[in-house]
Point group: C2
Chain length 347, copies 2
């Protein structure tokens, strides 16, 4: 059992990946109290080393035994691997904070942005899910508005960077852009279409209802995190040719009137939101300004011209941080602080 203040043994599952690397960086930056550090990755990465706090660590292949003695697993190796390994880690007494889609909608698994619904962590059964990147920044902006005036509907159009699709996707955007600018050609490999100087309204697979899985994740995860299972939410998710940061044009409808200024004040009270909203001075967030930063930035707040209690917001955040690694580490910090980093007896 781990007590707050104690150092703990941490395994990173998927340590060589893009989010795994970001996890390591954030653990370092935030001085997370790591006693033993154990990087795990697939056979492909076996015997490579990763650096943590200036020291090299040999990457091990994950197995049930690899979790022995570990208190916390930060998992970012995809849904299939998490489905298989997370229960084994829990059996070994570890808590797992999972970045994949494997457990997010499982009613026994809390889906958490700590500043929004940290209380859900108190009933965890060993596994905690980290939301989809698009959802994480969205709920950060929605929660203060909901508390101030009651959400009755949420409409989202997303502008998502290629880093959401991984390192190869970033490489493809760069290489394809370079090829096209030099009069050459670069057929798509990661994406369904050319992404350089183009948009792709297709993220993850299509579902029978005509939505993509990405779009339905935003709908369902938002409802779950806000604890509003019947909140009407809808989304169009679009990939845009930028490297880092997701942006969202969000229209909310509210129970009670809320002025843009009241909304700004409500948002500013969140520890993870920064309001950048003074259009006359050219102040509003853009993706390059959010990249590498921790906050969820909100701007362009204004009354909806098409409803009585509607408000528009423009929500921008670094999808690799708030949307993945940073939120996972914040979950771990919350659990440590509230003495929740232990697998309950019932698990």
């Amino acid at each position: 059992m781990v007590k707050a203040g104690k150092e703990i043994n941490v395994a990173i599952l998927g340590a060589t990946g893009r989010v795994g690397q970001e996890l390591i960086k954030i653990l370092e930056q935030r001085n997370f109290p790591v006693k033993e550090f154990r990087p795990l990755a697939s056979a492909r990465s076996k015997d490579t080393t990763v650096t943590f706090n200036g020291k090299p660590y040999v990457v091990q292949e994950p197995s049930e035994q690899a979790f022995a003695g570990i208190d916390l697993v930060l998992a970012s190796a995809g849904a299939e691997i998490s489905e298989h390994l997370a229960p084994l880690a829990v059996k070994q007494g570890a808590c797992v904070i999972d970045n994949s889609n494997a457990f997010r909608m499982d009613p026994n698994v809390p889906l958490v942005v700590p500043e929004v619904n940290g209380e859900a962590l108190h009933s965890h059964k060993g596994i905690v899910a980290n939301p989809n990147c698009t959802t994480a920044q969205l709920v950060a902006a929605l929660k203060p508005i909901h508390d101030a005036a009651g959400l009755t509907r949420v409409i989202v159009s997303s502008y998502q960077s290629v880093s959401g699709a991984g390192k190869e996707a970033m490489d493809e955007l760069e290489a394809q852009t370079r090829a096209l600018m030099n009069g050459g050609d670069y057929p798509p490999q990661v994406f369904q279409r050319q992404i350089a100087f183009n948009l792709i309204p297709h993220i993850d697979k299509f579902l029978p209802n005509g939505y993509t899985k990405e779009e339905m994740k935003v709908v369902q995860e938002t409802q779950k995190i806000l604890g509003l299972p019947n909140l009407p939410v809808t989304c169009t998710a679009v990939r845009v040719p930028i490297l880092i940061s997701h942006s969202e044009a969000v229209l909310v409808e509210l129970e009670r009137p809320l002025s843009p200024q009241q909304a700004r004040e409500a948002l500013a009270s969140s520890p993870i939101v920064e309001v950048w909203d003074d259009p006359e001075k050219g102040i509003y967030p853009t993706p390059i300004e959010a990249a590498g930063e921790d906050p969820v930035y909100v701007g362009r707040i204004r009354h909806d011209t098409s409803s009585s209690n509607g408000l528009h917001m423009w929500v921008v955040a670094d999808n690799l941080r708030i949307g993945a690694a940073l939120n996972a580490v914040r979950i771990a910090e919350y659990m440590l602080e509230h003495d929740l980093l232990k697998t309950p007896v019932s698990a």
Copy 2:
């Protein structure tokens, strides 16, 4: 007075500009019946030549006299120049089809997409306005849906290419992209921020209500063209780092239920819309596919998960064509066909 079938004298105001050049190309492609061709442009372009149907023409400086004998002026030289010169051209007996913002909301000036509200042309008083590019493709998709099930609300998030901001904006995106890819720097000149690998939620000036002029153009012009002055419409307009074609995530609410399949059939009946909508086969429009093409492409049609009679659409079109030059020439064709190319006596 010009009779249908007759050849007419045509002046292009702003002949050396980006839309002016596109106008000339489209007049050629569509075999528009031009008798005399007269390119006009500011003193800066005076004495340069432009080519029409393989023949060079010296560009003249515009003045009241420059319109003598002209039946039709296709104007694309900005609002200030149109405000000054269009009335002079009308005084000389010409009709003016104006691409600028100068007259769009003037109650005496029809604002027209011919396939949507061509009938408005029958009451023109010499000047006809071409809508904003974002609006033109939007109303092309909205009209068939309205006829089928009655619009009650329209919510638009736009993804607008840099060509909407002119030739210099396209050059800036290309030069800035090249500089950044080579580790260099390229401070913004045309745009408010870096546009390469970035998004800018700021098109045209900000208004006191927190919207940009571009966003309010979409609201007001859509209401005017559809003849629904009280239709609730709202918009967030965002510049994206692509060269040509505007895309729009459009959510419509309807009086009567309309299935996605019924919406596809209604849209397919429009002469200027093409439905590309078979997600399972990866069929949906993207900007590079629409660039250089005439239709307004619509895909991603699906029920709204947040309202009972709502439908989503993804609307993509070449902003230089349907949004400017092509629509202007189609207005001229309609006027020619209906014998409307004459300045009414009352003017």
